[in-house]
Symmetry: C2
Subunit: 843 residues, 2 copies
């Protein structure tokens, strides 16, 4: 086994392919520190490890051997001083030195020292391989008994160009007008020929055309600099974030207009006026058994008015708009991706065969060894076994854990429901008048905050569990690992973030039963109802608090605060262990790599993407209930993009550059959310909002075509004498005067032969709701397909550019060919007489 | 302008890239005829034209000048004797010789001769260009005053290899195990080097692996032979047809089972038993005003029983199955396409820049000339004008024509409806008892046949109109032309084929009104109703007759008969014109090209695809109503694949080979149909069939959970005294005994306060229907996405193969590189002393 450096995250490790004189990480400017000692060779990559010398054998028998993969056993990071080129160290075959037997042989040195010795051997072999691959290395003398040592690597020009050729990196070859000529595949001679023509230093790969095409690119153009610096994968993330943020601008504006429309029309909204009108005096049935009194609908006036802000016809238009917006965004992203991959010269990038992850090979090896020691099976079967037999067991295991985690989320949601019901009931016992009047506000607010905390905690747990599950799975390659991890983490976090919102949107208040026949959760506790203005208002509160809270806490606290804390903690720890040594040595000026080592290691883009994708969900999925969501997202992202950039530049070690052509599985997830949003918005408008009942009333039931009488129409009658014994209000002052109380539902009145059954209106409204869902879904889907079809995936200018380049290339090579033929001809004509001459001379 | 050969269908013209010694077209075997006279050079391509010598100046002043683009002015066809390679003649720049001025200059020669002279000049220029491009040509002496002349073209090896290189054709380079090594892009030297290593003759490109992978490929493996022969585009069509036919087998089997299930359960079906039971005696309201009598429901027993064959619960399962089937088919096709493009070495094929169509250039030129003569505008503006200004006018024009054509279809459908209504009314006047009892059968059968004839006629018209519209549009390239033509033709033909079926499925019988308040088309003519068994039976008849009739007539009559007739006609015509000349010349043995000239020219694959896609629509769109559709399609295709193959081999001139990586826009159309089928099937099951009402009755309304009483439940009551005056049955024998008649609808009974309004059941059933649509659509869509996601687009073996090839390639080139370096070194070491020696000798 090769060195398992830096927590499984090393093979294949890659050098950043850019060339930035003087643009160094952070504020450090000790240029001398960026070179090998006493030479002009630049430090391209730095490996770091903790060592422990055999000379100082403190026989610490009790401490257990450190696991090989611990983060501090060997850390890898790089600094900003590299050449253009894309280096990948090809792993030699047959490097699988099993770790157990070796450890067993030298056990008499003490477990720790044996391990140290083994590590040293592995390091030496690894360094030997590096040198064999043509790299030059420089090591510090290990002059302390234990401590941190750096191996600095310089990649000479020959190595870089060889690897560049193997990986088919495109480069500017000839300055023919604005065209780049593609370097031909893997012909060294050709490449070198072209190479020689290259006079100027290698330019940064993003040409200037890009800037003029993006006028609105305040976050984007800024990030391009770091892109030159961090590699395409991170560049794509910032490009994506930039486009997303840009797209949020129009949707925020439209969202604000929709909200303003609600504000303006609030005075002319007849249903909320009717509800607020004291003269109407709708006596409503009590909200809980025994202790709640009959109440007047006008007391819910405020929520009704607030509901109108979000529940108005403009919302329907807005959700159609947002569905198309999502499609447009994805289309534009495809185009931008194409454009970027053109300008970053990735168009010809093909998928490379990836090396298996070290963990996979270890597993395979262990399996093989185990089988060899027990039976003499067919080795092919063993290999097959890892990929199939093992996977099926693990698959079941993962599914079970997965389901139980989702159950955990649901039970958390249910727990909060129970909390709400019980607290509401408990508070209603209270004799304090202020408490009782604010029951709903208190309960809702506290419950949402509990929800938020649960979501944040579970989010962290789920992230860890997803990673653990994926590690159990032992995917073969790094890419497969990442994709599976993302899928798992996304599903878990999606369910976690949206479960309470789904509950409020589609389930809350739908299983209440009816007066005299309520549904009870426990004995005496009724299922919770929505506020009289509809559940939409509550959904809106839920959404805004969870969205804002999640963003504020996760962004500011987790993303900025925790790394800082970690850094501080690690510094303290390192400082303490090295303190005793420090005193003996003279304290030198810290080298660049010493400073870089103190930074936080880079752990991938997954959390950044995840956060944004969940936000994208908030913006699209429930936009019908909360038109201001895009605005909040926009504000968050403007901060986010700068925080992320700052973090990458100053807080993290420079990540290994990864070339990437697209954003991978995230695109599929985005397009999945886009599709889901259509059906969810359809249901929110049809089922959660009052849009359809209002339309139905206005055009089917109203006497004069206006909304007057709508509130009365939506309330059913209940004969109070039908209340079950023991559930009547106990201390009602006007219980004697009341014959009928009202409740919000379409049911037959008590005087009908089928009393309290669903009325004809119920079914008619239900039909209209469902018809709306079908209509909305298919219309929006059709429009999306149309948009998708109308916008070509490849921008026209880019495709034309590519075609032109190709034709220039063909011309160029034809000319080249002719010249070469001429050259050969002239050569032959010069050589032939020479040979003749020589032959004659010989004769 | 270059020669506008063979009705706009020539530039860029391409030589078929295969090499088949002895495998010649049809049964002709005069091998000597396949070579240039007295030489071994093979005839690779033949151009043919009609000439008219200047010597024989028949001054036919009255006949108008022949248009340049007429099919007989110059025809191009090829025969089977070509080498491997893919030749495209690069059009030289500056060939736009305007045709009007030239014609004007030589007008004194008479219009016809001037034109002839001009054509001759153009031909000479064209031939000159051919020779300049390195081709060798052979011409017959024009020894007749007018007649057919052939220009035979031989493409020498140098030209073929140069063009092959420019087009990046892959070829077997080295026989390393089973891997083909890709030839590097456009490096002649390299290519030739590899070329030299090639000892064996170029193999046909389909390797043997393909056959063993397809066990069920009875139509497919047979077609591969022609594929070697006709180029990838036609090969892909047959591969697609083969896969589609294979996929029809399981769906036919399932369809038969569904039908059999209907047959078996027919005896146990309670609703149809209830309907047939004479004792029930449901007195139904009359089917027409005045002349129709009350009737007993049991008289409709037969149709009710027949309906059950297609309208049973298994159909629901079958439509889900077919929706998934369609997804699977498309996925498998993507995989097969990938596999084929791998085995046919098309994986690296990139889109080439296409040459503009000659028509486009002519148009551009005309525009330029016109503008030059009138004003001195900016030339850039003119160029822009063609692509935008012209297009907008034409776009409006096309949209108007398009809409009017669709209106034409609708009016045809409406016409047939009117025919049905009036004929049914007319027949009901009849005193003949037999006639009256068979009204429905007679009317339905004749109407469907009229529909079929209308469809067939309009199909031909629409095909022509679509072509005409696309020509007006003047698309820039051949590919754009084809895509636009396909899209237009498909939309028109789709509407044409399905409009009557959509009418029966979703509209027939829904706007009838109710007794006492019928909807009238004209005075006295009521809207038509469905049969008592539901519209599904009628839909089924409509579908089967249109599908079968269209296939039989279009396949057998149009595809086979008409080409034969055309051939006969053309032969007769040619024979007559050449008769006078024939007598003077000795009749030689006809050469291969003389025989080939008599074949029908190839007009593209569009009609073949179109036919199959419309069939795919029949199989998927309405499969819920006609489970036997896949079976009929299968039977048709087994014949079709052979007929098509025969046609290509023996009836048509050999088409110009076109390389294609995929089936282009047809894939989009197929996937669109797949998506549409989900929603249409959902509606057919929910709305057209009785599935939902039955379910609702069984689980919501039935007293004992059985279907007993279902028929009674679906029939509403009508008080006969409420019939409007003058619409009562005139000659009813039992009018006096009847108080209530029944009709099929959910309406309130006469004794309800809201008499004849829709009842609560109506709305409940409607809700259930709509809920089913939502559920079905989203479930099937979800499953489709899942299937799409689970099946990778690229088969695993292929992607692994490609990866392996790539690594072998890299190794190979590295080795090559080393060898070359060694060679150069040794060369230098040999040359250097030589030079020294020579220098010394000189000195």
């Amino acid at each position: 086994e090769r060195f398992s450096i830096h927590n499984t995250h090393v093979f294949p490790f890659q050098i950043i392919n850019n060339y930035l004189d003087g643009t160094q990480r952070g504020a450090v400017d000790s240029v001398s520190g960026m070179h090998f000692r006493g030479s002009k060779r630049k430090v391209d990559y730095v490996l770091a490890y903790h060592y422990r010398k055999r000379l100082a054998q403190h026989q610490q028998g009790t401490s257990p051997p450190e696991p090989m993969n611990r983060a501090d056993s060997m850390a890898v990071f790089s600094n900003g001083e590299t050449r253009k080129g894309h280096l990948e160290l090809q792993p030699d075959s047959g490097q699988h030195i099993p770790q157990e037997p070796l450890g067993a042989q030298v056990i008499e040195l003490g477990p720790l020292d044996a391990l140290e010795e083994e590590k040293r051997l592995q390091r030496e072999e690894y360094e030997h391989n590096l040198v064999a691959a043509g790299l030059e290395i420089e090591k510090d003398a290990e002059n302390k008994s234990q401590g941190l040592s750096f191996v600095r690597i310089h990649a000479p020009w020959q190595v870089l160009s060889r690897e560049a050729e193997l990986h088919k990196i495109k480069m500017p070859t000839k300055k023919v007008s604005i065209f780049y000529l593609l370097s031909t595949r893997g012909i060294l001679k050709k490449l070198n020929e072209i190479w020689c023509k290259l006079t100027e230093p290698l330019q940064p790969q993003v040409p200037q055309e890009n800037t003029k095409m993006k006028s609105l690119s305040y976050p984007f153009s800024r990030e391009k600099m770091y892109l030159k610096y961090f590699g395409e994968k991170i560049g794509l993330y910032f490009a994506w974030l930039g486009l997303y943020t840009e797209f949020l601008i129009p949707s925020s504006v439209v969202g604000i207009f929709v909200f303003l429309y609600g504000c303006i029309t609030i005075e002319s909204d007849i249903p909320s006026k009717e509800m607020c009108d004291q003269r109407n005096a709708f006596t409503m049935c009590p909200l809980c058994d025994k202790f709640c009194d009959y109440w007047n609908l006008s007391s819910a006036c405020a929520t009704a008015r607030a509901s109108h802000l979000f529940d108005n016809p403009a919302t329907v238009f807005f959700s159609i708009f947002m569905a198309l917006w999502a499609t447009m965004f994805l289309e534009q992203w495809k185009r931008l991706q194409m454009r970027l991959s053109y300008f970053w010269d990735l168009t010809g990038l093909e998928e490379e065969e990836e090396h298996p992850r070290p963990e996979y090979e270890t597993k395979l090896l262990q399996k093989k060894l185990k089988n060899k020691s027990t039976t003499t099976e067919d080795p092919n079967e063993v290999r097959c076994g890892l990929s199939f037999h093992l996977h099926f067991d693990i698959f079941c295991y993962i599914v079970i854990i997965f389901l139980s985690l989702i159950m955990l989320t649901f039970s958390a949601v249910f727990g909060v429901i129970v909390y709400r019901i019980t607290t509401a009931a408990a508070l209603s016992f209270s004799t304090n008048e202020t408490t009782r009047s604010n029951i709903r506000v208190t309960v809702t607010a506290t419950a949402v905050i509990i929800n938020l905390i649960v979501i944040l905690i579970l989010d962290e747990i789920y992230g860890a569990v997803a990673k653990w599950l994926t590690e159990i799975e032992v995917p073969k390659t790094e890419k497969a690992f990442e994709e599976r991890l993302i899928l798992k983490a996304f599903l878990l976090k999606f369910v976690n973030s949206y479960a309470p919102i789904f509950y409020v949107a589609f389930f809350k208040g739908r299983f209440v039963g009816r007066p005299g026949h309520y549904v009870y959760v426990f004995d005496g506790y009724r299922m919770e109802e929505c506020a009289p203005g509809g559940c939409l208002m509550e959904l809106c509160i839920q959404l805004s608090i969870i969205m804002l809270g999640k963003q504020l806490i996760q962004n500011n606290l987790f993303e900025i605060g925790i790394p800082k804390l970690k850094k501080l903690f690690r510094k303290l720890k390192d400082g303490r262990t090295e303190l005793k040594e420090m005193n003996t040595n003279q304290s030198k000026d810290p080298q660049q790599w010493d400073l870089d080592y103190s930074l936080e290691p880079f752990t991938g883009l997954t959390p950044e993407y995840m956060e944004m994708i969940i936000q994208f969900g908030f913006v699209t999925l429930f936009v019908a209930s909360f038109p201001l969501a895009p605005l909040f997202a926009l504000l968050n992202n403007i901060i986010e993009v700068r925080l992320d950039a700052k973090k990458f530049v100053t807080e993290l070690r420079r990540p290994d550059t990864v070339r990437a052509k697209d954003i991978g599985i995230w695109y599929n997830i985005l397009s999945g959310i886009g599709k889901l949003s259509v059906i969810i918005n359809a249901f929110v408008i049809a089922v959660t909002s009052d849009f359809i009942p209002r339309l139905m009333y206005q055009y089917a039931y109203s006497q004069n075509g206006t909304m007057h009488g709508f509130v009365n129409h939506t309330l059913s009658y209940f004969n109070v004498s039908h209340l079950k014994a023991g559930t009547q209000p106990e201390n009602s002052p006007f219980a004697q005067d009341i014959l009928f109380c009202r409740f919000k539902d379409y049911r037959e009145p008590p005087w009908s032969p089928n009393q309290y059954e669903f009325s004809k209106q119920y079914w008619a409204v239900l039909s209209a709701r469902l018809a709306f869902v079908i209509l909305f879904q298919n219309l929006v889907m059709f429009l999306s397909v149309l948009v998708d079809w109308m916008i070509p995936d490849i921008p026209k200018d880019i495709s034309e550019q590519i075609k032109k380049e190709k034709s220039v290339l063909v011309d160029f090579f034809l000319k080249e060919e002719h010249e070469k033929l001429k050259l050969i001809e002239s050569f032959i004509t010069r050589i032939m007489p020479l040979n003749k001459h020589q032959c004659e001379a010989d004769n």
